[in-house]
């Protein structure tokens, strides 16, 4: 089925079944999915025509009015923030494209130098060392990200929390080997976890911790933020067709490839990286994923994923992966783990008051490789006129 996540009038009803369009063939993946459990809340609108027009405009801009035969595709990858950033960009001048992409990577490296909690010399590490003893002045960009992060924590009632670092260390997900901490240890560590311990002063642009041992880990949002910075750089250089990926977990589709209707992005199936979970067509939109397959511990025959529930101190269970669609990388990256922690029902409540988000949950169902999908969308949902957000399964 081919569905459009657009809701032109900004209204939407959850759990509305996707309307099947007979023009499209349904391609089921080879694995079994509990279709009866699908709750798809999408509308099919007339956006296909609008999307095509936008794509055509984007191509025309990318090539400066020249024919598509002059367009060059340039793709490069760069390791930073413990992952791989990849940029694919279309334009006319290979040298210019390479320079722009290099500028993108320099910016990503700058953010890594600033926000890494692996590097003792980073600004974030300095904050972690000093903020418990005195307010620390923060660079404007980082301060803005901290504000967004704390806002997300409040919105999600702490399901997303950038102070979860000590828990990660307890479980051995930070530079260590996995281990099962005792309940007493988790209880102790939890005293140092919680966004409430972060005191931001917007006027002075400072941060202070109200407790010793609090640590900030931006791993759940910094990559999406970096993707947004990359897109800003691309746009400021006149690029209108590009894809930016942070380790394939946070992606932004800028414009569409020449002659294409959005960027085709396949979200992997939760149990098999080679099989498709969902296929999206995106233009001027972002997608992020969180998955229990990324990092996990196996202790006593049981798998523990790397995404912690900051309330319990234990890895989240009964969730395989989430994929979030929103207008920016900061929107998606900073939410995919939060949705992962909240699960379907809490997320449903969240989406009733937070607009313009779409989430796909991949949940366990029977023995692997079987799973079920649940797709939710904000009650108030609209996408920008120049965006394409379609699902094509």
């Amino acid at each position: 089925m081919n569905c459009d996540l657009r809701d032109g009038n900004g209204r939407g009803a959850q759990d509305r079944p996707c309307v099947r369009n007979s023009r499209f063939t349904i391609h089921y993946s080879p694995f079994t999915i509990h279709h009866s459990l699908f709750t798809i809340i999408l509308l099919v609108t007339c956006s296909r025509l609008a999307g095509s027009l936008v794509t055509a405009l984007a191509i025309a801009t990318a090539v400066g009015g020249h024919g598509a035969e002059n367009v060059v595709r340039y793709e490069a990858s760069h390791e930073s923030m413990g992952t791989v950033y990849t940029v694919a960009v279309y334009g006319r001048d290979r040298t210019f494209l390479s320079e722009v992409v290099e500028e993108v990577f320099e910016e990503v490296d700058r953010l890594d130098e600033q926000m890494s909690n692996y590097k003792p010399e980073s600004e974030l590490s300095a904050i972690n060392r000093e903020a418990a003893s005195h307010p620390v002045v923060v660079e404007p960009g980082l301060f803005h990200l901290l504000e967004i992060s704390v806002g997300r924590s409040k919105e999600t009632d702490g399901a997303f929390d950038i102070t979860v670092g000590p828990l990660m260390k307890s479980w051995g997900f930070f530079r260590g080997r996995g281990r099962l901490p005792s309940r007493a240890e988790i209880s102790q560590v939890l005293k140092r976890v919680g966004y409430q311990h972060l005191k931001l002063d917007a006027e002075r642009r400072t941060i202070r911790f109200d407790k010793e041992g609090v640590e900030i880990d931006l791993g759940g949002i910094a990559k999406g933020y970096a993707v947004d910075r990359a897109v800003e750089i691309l746009r400021s250089n006149g690029i209108t067709s590009a894809l930016v990926s942070s380790g394939m977990s946070s992606i932004y589709a800028l414009g569409s490839p020449p002659g294409e209707h959005g960027w085709k992005i396949t979200v992997r199936a939760p149990y098999d990286a080679r099989k498709a979970g969902d296929v999206f067509r995106l233009q001027n939109y972002s997608l992020s994923t969180s998955g229990s397959y990324e990092k996990f511990l196996r202790i006593g025959g049981k798998n523990y994923c790397h995404i912690m529930d900051p309330h319990t101190g234990w890895p989240v269970e009964n969730m395989l992966s989430t994929a979030v669609l929103a207008p920016t990388g900061t929107d998606t990256d900073g939410r995919s783990a939060g949705f992962f922690v909240m699960g379907v029902e809490r997320s449903r409540k969240y989406l009733s008051v937070h607009p313009n988000l779409a989430v796909v949950f991949y949940l366990p169902s029977g023995a692997p490789p079987e799973y079920k999908r649940v797709m939710l969308r904000s009650d108030s949902y609209s996408i920008p006129a120049d965006s394409i957000v379609e699902i094509d399964r």
Binding site: G82, T86, M248, P257, V267, Y293
Partner: protein, 435 residues
Amino acid sequence: MENERDVTRRDFLKTAAAVAAASALPSVGAPAILANPSPNNVVNYGMIGTGTEGCTLLKFLATIAEGRCIATCDIYPPNLKKGVETIGSNPQTYEDYRKMLERKDLDAVMVVTPLNLHAQMVLDALSAGKHVFVEKTMYFKEDEEDKIRKASEEHPKQALQVGLQRRSSLLYQVAIEMIRKGAVGKVMFVRANWHRNSNWRRPVPDPKFERLLNWRMYKEYSGGLFAELASHQLDVANWAIGAEPVSVVATGGIDYWKDGREVCDNIQAIYEYPGGQKFLWSGVLYNEHFQFEEEIMGDQGTLIITLGKGMFYRERVAKVSKAGLKENWWAGATVAKAATQEGIPIFPEHAGNGEAAFVDRELLYAKRWLASMGIYKYEEPHDPWWSEMSNFLASVREGKPVVAPLEIGVADAQGVIYGNRAVETGQKVFWPKKA
């Protein structure tokens, strides 16, 4: 990015395993049929030269049931005694290898003597109807190539193998297969070093034995660092690039160990290949920080390899293409690293043909992970010297092609001879045009 083009960590490791599984490697997992060979199918061999290298080979040969050492030869009595003790099979001892070659019950010989003696001993052994293993470098003087080639052609049923043991290393074989399958793209540069911090001398109980025991120091017998060290790595470069050099520039000197030696204690050389590829070699005897390794660089990645350890690093590659590519990007955070900075261990071990037990597969994965962190050191199922000897004996017994045949030995020897000529003349030396 097209996902199917992407060499992920798992894909790469699977490739390594597949290569290991697919390679016909006589040294891996000695077949049961060879474990107890019939007495009539055992190769009777003799070792010519039982110094340090000869005894190294004998140590491994002593564990290979497919061969029986019936003769050893050395003109230095302590070495002769050491050889007998090492092999433990009570071989007949000789001071004159010609006498040893007269034995009708001798199937094969190993020539492990000073370099200047190699060619004549190989010629005599082939003429005596023996299969021959000759340590690298295969020959000393340029004009010896034709003599050995002619003798080999006159005795086509006799094996002639050159002692370049990296050719028998499973790790190297897998690395080369990976290169052939495009893991590093087009190989354009190989850099290798063999650095030691020692005088490279053998202890001499009496000054009269100086030239006998320290033959490597004297040009009358030795090709110096080129022949004894660079030859192994030049062979790897030839193997990886898939060609032989066309020229070499080199410089070196006796700048540190001014102890009467005639060969350089440091050499830097650049070999050039027909496609413009370069092999940069460095050998020094006053610093061992970098020890020895080979770095094989292509436009898609790098392999860093030495005996017992191999790592693959993917190149950060910018791909430029015309528009029209079908874009299909995969999301799902499965690519945490592209191995551009942290390498992926080359791990030839494989868990069978896909039917390995779950525990075996998990153990293998765990070992790879530990290897990537430097905690676990990969060890080949057999030492490459063992494999080299085993391969040779298998070739003798079964008539199979040898692992390092004449042409490989010739290419290697030419590199040694022309490298030394480049140092001595200060000129760029070109390979002779092939007929």
